[in-house]
């Protein structure tokens, strides 16, 4: 087995490069789509929590509950109604990002010092403009930290979306397992691990760029802002 079926056969990788590249693109697309949709839904939920403060614990509990649904069960529960489609992959993926993103948005807004908001009010800004023009920009570093966690988690979960026929690199892994042919498995697994680490590193750089003070003194983030 080891001669014909090593962990990685370069000739196969070269021959299948178009399939592999397509899988990477599909993986990245599904990840980005998930995070963008997740941010949009989280934004709406955060707005509801801000407008009606009493809804905040409920939203927190509901998004936390969604996060605890096992991924295999979540994908499985949807297949009878939505089939082996991208929708079936997207619903759980987006649902899993919400707990992190809603909390990031609300925590980010909470940590803006009240004095900043008062100053904005004193110069005559309306509540909406204070929120969107003053508090939200100051919350961006915290929101980006949330996006980092959501993105990296999603890369891993997209791999698993292969069980419902979606999600790029995971399909290479399952293909390799079914045929007991290790090259697609190794390539799929290595690339998805690499993708997660690269995106994580990219977010670290982004965090440093937009909030250099947070690297040195995480505790006084709000004060420095």
């Amino acid at each position: 087995m080891s001669e014909r079926n090593p962990l990685l056969r370069w000739d196969y990788v070269v021959a299948q490069r178009h399939t592999i590249i397509a899988a990477v693109i599909e993986h990245v697309q599904l990840t980005l789509l998930t995070v963008v949709l997740g941010l949009a839904v989280a934004g709406v939920l955060a707005a509801v929590a801000l407008r009606w403060g009493r809804a905040r614990p409920t939203i927190g509990a509901a998004t936390a509950a969604l996060y605890t649904i096992p991924s295999v069960a979540f994908f499985g529960l949807l297949v009878p109604s939505t089939g082996l489609t991208r929708t079936t992959a997207l619903i759980p993926l987006v649902a899993y990002t919400l707990v992190v993103l809603v909390n990031a948005i609300l925590d980010g807004l909470d940590q803006v010092p009240p004095a900043v908001d008062e100053a904005a009010e004193a110069i005559g800004l309306s509540p909406l403009r204070r929120l969107l023009g003053v508090r939200l920009p100051l919350a961006v570093p915290v929101i980006v930290s949330g996006l980092r966690v959501a993105t990296v988690t999603t890369v891993g979960l997209v791999t698993l979306a292969a069980i419902v026929g979606q999600g790029g690199l995971g399909r290479l892994i399952l293909d390799g397992l079914r045929r007991a042919f290790w090259t697609p498995l190794t390539i799929g697994a290595l690339l998805s691990i690499l993708l997660a680490l690269v995106l994580d590193a990219a977010f670290v750089l982004l965090e440093r760029r937009i909030a250099p003070w947070s690297v040195r003194r995480p505790a006084s983030r709000a004060g420095a802002a």
């Binding site: 080891s2 962990l7 605890t68 649904i69 096992p70 991924s71 295999v72 069960a73 979540f74 994908f75 499985g76 529960l77 297949v79 009878p80 966690v149 990296v152 890369v155 891993g156 979960l157 791999t159 698993l160 069980i163 419902v164 690199l169 995971g170 892994i173 399952l174 390799g176 397992l177 290790w182 498995l185 190794t186 799929g188 697994a189 290595l190 998805s192 691990i193 997660a196 680490l197 994580d200």
Partner: protein, 280 residues
Amino acid sequence: MQLELAQAALPRDITLAEWLLDPTSWTGSSGILPSLLDTLALCSAVMLAAVVLAVPSAALLAHLGRAKVLSAWLVNIGRAVPTFALAALLVPVSLRTGLGFEPWPIFIALTAMALPPIYLGTYTAVSGVDRAAVDAARAVGLRSREVLLRVELPLASSVILTGVRVAAVQVVATEPIRAFLGGDGLGRYVRDGLGQRNDTLLLGGAVLVAALAGAVGMVLSLLQRAIEPTGVRRLRPSVRSTRIATAASDLRTDPDTAPHASEPPGALTGAMTLTDDERD
């Protein structure tokens, strides 16, 4: 082979309730009960390994105030690595080293997933213990090891247990991917349901997996409350530092920690630090 067996055992037109209420669904080699025990056994082994690896090392490093940056790095990388991909990557490695298809790859991948929350919980909990309590413990003559075991760990226990619980729930929720990596466990029905396009099996399997994760989460929350040291639980409200300082000095009267013949040199320094802090 297993796929065919499961298919033979379950006609297509059976309803979800019929499947779940039929005793024969629960017994037999591919039954729900053995699959459930299989899953719980693997998860227990994973948690045991993860706790043994993470809690002592994190507690000791936090006690010594070492490896802060390294810890953060490892935790971040550990969190970023996708569990399914890691387990898959280990399948051919496990086969080649003669360990077989199962369950080493999923065991290692799940352990790697459980380590970061436990390690981080322990590290932050121990390093977050009120310095006044640690200084007081030193001042009354506790040795470094005793400070860790009798003051820092008890005071950190609640946060440590939370980390362990979070990891356990994550492990139970992720274990079903094992069914897609050549193993069985409770995830097998989702896999077989997908493979056979049998919605009853698929939905039933998904419900079982979700119910187990929910049940484990609830049981562990109750368990955490039950095993938390009662003295520490009583500390929490109001004046934490004074109560903790009292608890530390109470240790002196404990026969197990009788005053030492020679006071460790750190004790005096500790006492001075304490008064210095109070003056600020």
